[in-house]
């Protein structure tokens, strides 16, 4: 049955004399490999050298603070709902008096955990967040973990460091 008109009948004729004594083809092939021997390597020495990941790369999650250093997250739970892998879980709490410099809204996440074994880095949490609190950093990967006890990242690993703020190119 003919499905399309793209079919090509491959005609392999009798091998020529030069092909049959192998040697010219072998020498040609060795020339090709020798060319590659001196050509630029396409791989890099990874942990020492790193490639530029691009502005839309989705890496390590971060919980943003605002300009005053207060956490933006209000523990609404939309990210957890949006998450297709169900990697996010949180416990909400009410802001006390005198904590205004720590939390921007009246409700905040006391516990905020992401299971990095479940996370698929799809970025839907980032899109779902109404407070611009969670982002996936474009320049930082999640570090390698060696034990199952290390895979759940709590607030200690997620909340932004004020001395080393995360900025995207468009924000500046």
């Amino acid at each position: 049955m003919k499905l399309s008109n793209k079919t090509k009948v491959l005609e392999q004729g009798e091998m020529t004399f030069a092909e049959r004594i192998y040697l010219p083809a072998i020498v040609g092939g060795m020339g090709t490999t020798l060319k590659h021997f001196f050509s630029k390597k396409v791989t890099i020495r990874y942990p020492e050298q790193k490639r530029y990941l691009g502005p839309v790369f989705r890496g390590h999650h971060i919980l943003k603070r605002d300009e005053q250093g207060a956490e933006r997250c209000t523990a609404c739970g939309l990210c957890a709902v949006a998450c297709p892998a169900e990697a996010i879980s949180m416990v909400a709490d009410e802001r006390k008096k005198g904590e205004e410099h720590l939390y921007r809204e009246e409700k905040y996440a006391k516990v905020y955990e992401i299971n990095m074994l479940r996370c698929i880095f799809c970025g839907l949490c980032e899109e779902a967040c109404p407070k611009q609190a969670i982002y996936l950093q474009h320049d930082k990967m999640v570090p390698v973990f060696e034990d199952r006890s290390e895979v759940i990242f709590g607030k200690d690993k997620l909340v932004e460091d004020m001395n080393n703020r995360y900025l995207r190119e468009g924000w500046k």
Binding site: E14, F17, R20, I21, L23, I26, G29, M30, T32, T33, L34, H36, F37, S39, K40, K41, V42, T43, I44, R45
Partner: protein, 386 residues
């Protein structure tokens, strides 16, 4: 007595040095094989152990030693242990007759021959030991009590026997030229640039193809063909026994490189030998000769690896038909051609360039005749079809 004992000590040191060089080259061949493979595939290769990964062989050796040494319960235990040792033994024994250098002056009229033993059957010794190399594979494959191992072993045996014939015939042409079986004499007749490759281009091509087959290297590594036989004859081997097999392969490569350099590329001869001999004395020239031979052998090792990462594996019937219907008739033709070229030399009063011209012209004539024959056959077939 004094002289004998000094010579004996010197010889013992020489043997130890050659042994160390062989093992060192073999160890680093594993590293360079991976580096070369990586470079030809546009990769970086092993670079973690030490600067540029030069401690990689050490790391590999540690890994090999630390692994569990497993012996299959239904195997023939003794033979299973003996086989890799046999492989290693035969690989190391060949270097005894390879002349690594000229004579070294030890002072007091003592001349140390930089060769294990100069027997007058040198090249036959190499040939004999190489033909024994298959026992390690054959016995190991059978003792594993594994069908894949056995198939690998049987392939190795038939392959080695087939290619030994062509190899022997191509050596015969060399023997005709030098008139001796001694490797030393073969090298001495090639001094001052009269390398056998000029007289024996066809013989060299046959020899190097056979050397690939005898070393079980790609494109002839059917005995350990992964896609068909898992690991071939060393499927059941682990730990240092496997290491011995792999190691003996690299030793074989180095030694066959040295043998090829000896037979076809003037052995320890190098351009400017006389100049250095006059200027810096005998010993410097001799030691440089050792360097030249090892350098040539290493170039061959590189070619072995280069070919491995270029060519795909042959199919088994292709391998056999190349050996029996390709190389053996070719090598017989080479013997006849060598005879003819020598006949011309006798008439011309020993003009070497005449021999060279005749041997190259002979190859051209052979190619043309084969081409014409092929064309006529092709036409006949076409007529029959059409």
């Amino acid at each position: 007595m004094e002289i004998t004992s000094t010579l004996f000590t010197a010889k013992a040191i020489y043997v130890g040095v050659i042994f160390a060089i062989t093992l060192g080259v073999a160890a680093y061949s594993t590293y360079f094989e991976r580096i070369i493979a990586a470079f030809m595939q546009d990769r970086v290769g092993p670079d973690r152990a030490g600067p540029f990964g030069i401690l990689q062989p050490l790391a590999d050796a540690v890994k090999m030693f630390m692994k569990e040494d497993f012996i299959p319960s239904q195997s023939s235990k003794w033979l299973f242990i003996v086989a890799p040792c046999l492989s290693m033994l035969t690989a190391l024994m060949t270097s005894a007759v390879v002349p690594f250098g000229d004579k070294l002056d030890l002072g007091g009229g003592l001349m140390l021959d930089l060769q294990g033993v100069d027997v007058n059957i040198g090249i036959l010794w190499v040939f004999g030991i190489v033909s024994l190399g298959v026992y390690g594979i054959l016995v190991g494959g059978w003792a594993s009590n594994n069908k894949y191992s056995l198939l690998g072993a049987i392939r190795a045996a038939s392959q080695n026997i087939s290619y030994e014939l062509a190899m022997g015939l191509s050596i015969i042409a060399i023997l005709m030229l030098s008139g001796s079986l001694s490797t030393k004499t073969i090298v001495e007749t090639q001094q001052n640039g009269h390398w056998n490759i000029l007289y024996q281009p066809l013989g060299f091509v046959i020899f190097i193809v056979c050397a690939f087959a005898e070393c079980n290297r790609t494109p002839f590594d059917l005995p350990e063909c992964e896609t068909e036989l898992i690991g071939g004859y060393h499927t059941e081997y682990s730990s240092m026994k496997l290491g011995f097999y792999l190691f003996s392969e690299y030793i074989n490569m180095f030694i066959s490189g040295a043998v090829m350099a000896t037979l076809y590329f003037g052995g320890y001869d190098y351009p400017g030998h006389d100049f250095i001999h006059d200027k810096f004395g005998n010993n410097v020239a001799a030691l440089l000769g050792v360097g030249a031979l090892i350098g040539k052998a290493l170039i061959f090792v590189f070619i072995f690896m280069w070919v491995r990462w270029t060519l795909p594996r042959f199919r088994y019937d292709q391998l056999m038909s190349l050996g029996w219907t390709g190389l053996i008739p070719l090598s017989m033709f080479n013997v006849v051609l060598t005879g003819t070229s020598m006949l011309f030399t006798v008439n011309e009063g020993g003009s070497n360039w005449y021999t060279v011209a005749v041997s190259w012209a002979g190859i051209v004539v052979m190619l043309v005749v084969t081409y014409l024959y092929n064309e006529s056959q092709y036409k006949k077939k076409k007529l029959a079809v059409g």
